[in-house]
Amino acid sequence: MPRTVIQESRTERLEILDMEGRLDEALAPALSDDQLVTLYRLMVRMRKFDEKALNLQRQGRIGTYGSIKGQEACQAGLVPALTRHDWLVPSFREHGVLISSGIPMHLVYALWKGDERSNLFPEGIRCLPPSIPVGSQLLHAAGLGMGLAKKGDPGVAVGFGGDGATSEGDFHEALNFAGVFSARTLFFIQNNQWAISVPLKRQTASETIAQKAHAYGFPGIQVDGNDVLAVTSASQEALAHVRAGRGPYLIECLTYRMENHTTADDQSRYRTPEEVAYWASRDPIDRMRKFLSGRGLWGEELEKSWALEVSTEVDREVELLETMPAAPATDILDYMYGERPWFLEEQRRLLQEEAES
């Protein structure tokens, strides 16, 4: 009767590819050579997309931009495990996920240029507009997951967040609702160890973010977020769990934000070049290239031709971005309601008069 252990939990960490590109065969996901190469290609494409974005920002051709550099493995590892039934519920740092899911690059550039039309994704893509208030849209992922379960829809809702997002009350409520209602939701947390200038230690006293799932009665796992194979494997496992109707799942990708928080930030104020250099040495793309080269699946020729292919795509997308016709001023009023109320009717007239004068 006395003092008894009534609950135990453990959190695991998954790593498959080491820094030298050596594989843990026992844990490696079952992927064809093509699929392995695809993961690499996705990451390189993200990196190029990102470099161009930083470039466009410096030239004032887009606005403030938040880089995904360093987090490519998290985003590339997830996407191939998804199906067209799944819903993406992104935060603001999921460009890699977006452009790997059929959303053309120029729309993501347009987001950072400041154009609401950027959120008008191609038909058939289940992706919500990126959400700015940190953590808040995780509740939409929970609700979607509840709804998918109700409908017997094969999809899974994937809610994204950073380490900072786990501090918001909505993170808690989302995980709690998802747990209670066995939602078809995967919480995908990219723990890049910084929330602007606030380091992980200041964000939570918890040893891991993965273990937070245990407070809501479902599994969580930490993966090496710079190891695209570990992310793939964990994503497959987690999505299978959710698809089987066994309830939600949380993946924590432990990774690192290599760039400033956004182009408006100056990381040198709060972290050391040594720390950044350390993480540069753990680059997810390098690691995967070593692995593929070792297997004879990749080499300089392929690297060059892929680089060329991607930069051609990037250039074409920038062209598309910059030839988008300007949105009419009245767009700021025209999507507020299904039917325009009288006050917007009046205000619209005012706006139009101005445009004409």
Binding site: N119, H140, G145, K151, F177
Partner: protein, 342 residues
């Protein structure tokens, strides 16, 4: 589900054309009948299921439609509105309940930063056919945070519609409209009059349009503008003034966003005098908007300043002093006199 639908339909055919219902019952009938009509409609919130809601407004829904559609949620307002958004995106039409408007704040971010914005943010790709219902206003002597009226905050939030019925008939018809609306509608239920009186309410569906005020009594000398539980206070004042030979027009706004500016202007152009009544605090309360609209559109018709009779700019009191807080017939009459004697 289908069984319940049929039962509801059969019952509707068997029953008389109207029933004497309270406002709470009228809300219940709207939910019941609409859920029978459209199986994507969900009801969700704290205690809405087996308990039938703390005011019994959702009574019987769980039995009729089952736990997949009538959902007792964890105790978390942001969670309720936030997951309702997700459910709407998944193709449902959620009717979420917050237990009291005093507990709206935790849900403000989901309601105002998300629900109100999805259509605009997605340039029309997504829209949210959802209703957020909540009992509001004072007068039932409950603990702190159970008597609040925060309607002005919602009117200042673009992308929402905000509806406040004052009668059982309107409550049902407006809620039907709200449920059928393709955009988020906040439905505020004046709990003080949940059971204050009954009136004939038609069986079966009908809509009272959102955005249209109702002239409760026609009059020539002064317009009383009110909504929710304050309509009854306005009516009492109207009767008192009528006894003194003052012909008062009473306008029940029914919707505070979008407000029926035409009805207001029309009435004030006729009477030249107006008193707005609400129980929320005065500073930046919705009454100010009414005054501003009149000022902008009917200034030259005004024979006296528009008067505001409102709650005080103070926290809604604990029960023992709440009667001092709420606008009364006397205060309305006094304000009317100020306008008449100006």
């Amino acid at each position: 589900m289908t069984a319940a639908t049929e039962t509801a339909t059969e019952a509707a055919e068997a029953r008389p054309q109207t029933q004497k219902l309270t406002l709470a019952q009228a809300v219940n009938r709207a939910l019941f009948e609409e859920m029978g009509r459209d199986e994507t409609i969900l009801v969700m919130g704290e205690d809405v299921g087996i308990d039938g809601g703390v005011f019994r407004v959702t009574e019987g829904l769980l039995d009729a439609y089952g736990p997949e559609r009538v959902i007792d949620t964890p105790l978390a307002e942001s969670g309720i509105v936030g997951t309702a958004i997700g459910l709407a995106l998944a193709g449902f039409r959620p009717v979420a309940e917050l237990q009291f408007m005093g507990f709206l704040y935790p849900a403000m971010n989901q309601l105002c930063a998300h629900a109100a914005r999805y259509r605009n943010r997605s340039r029309g790709r997504y829209h949210l056919p959802m209703v957020v219902r909540m009992p509001y206003c004072g007068g039932i002597r409950p603990p702190e945070h159970h008597s609040e009226s925060y309607e002005a905050l919602l009117v200042n939030t673009p992308g929402l519609k905000v509806v406040i019925p004052s009668t059982p008939y309107d409550a049902k018809g407006l809620l039907v409209s709200a449920i059928r609306d393709e955009d988020p509608v906040v439905f505020l239920e004046p709990k003080k009059i949940y059971r204050a009186f009954r009136e004939d309410v038609p069986t079966g569906p009908y809509e009272v349009p959102i955005g249209k005020a109702r002239v409760v009594v026609e009059g020539r000398d002064l317009t009383l503008i009110a909504y929710g539980a304050m309509v009854r206070v306005a009516m009492e004042a109207e009767q008192a003034l009528a006894r003194d030979g003052v012909s008062v027009e009473v306008l029940d706004l029914r919707t505070v966003s979008p407000v029926d500016v035409e009805a207001i202007v029309l009435s004030v152009e006729k009477t030249g005098r107006a008193v707005v009544v609400h129980e929320a605090p005065r500073n930046a309360g919705f009454g100010a908007e009414i005054v501003a609209l009149i000022n902008e559109r009917a200034l030259l018709s005004l024979l006296a300043p528009v008067q505001r009779v409102t709650g005080f700019d103070a926290v809604f009191p604990y029960p023992m002093l709440e009667h001092h807080y709420l606008p009364t017939k006397e205060r309305v009459v006094k304000a009317a006199r100020r306008a008449l004697d100006f």
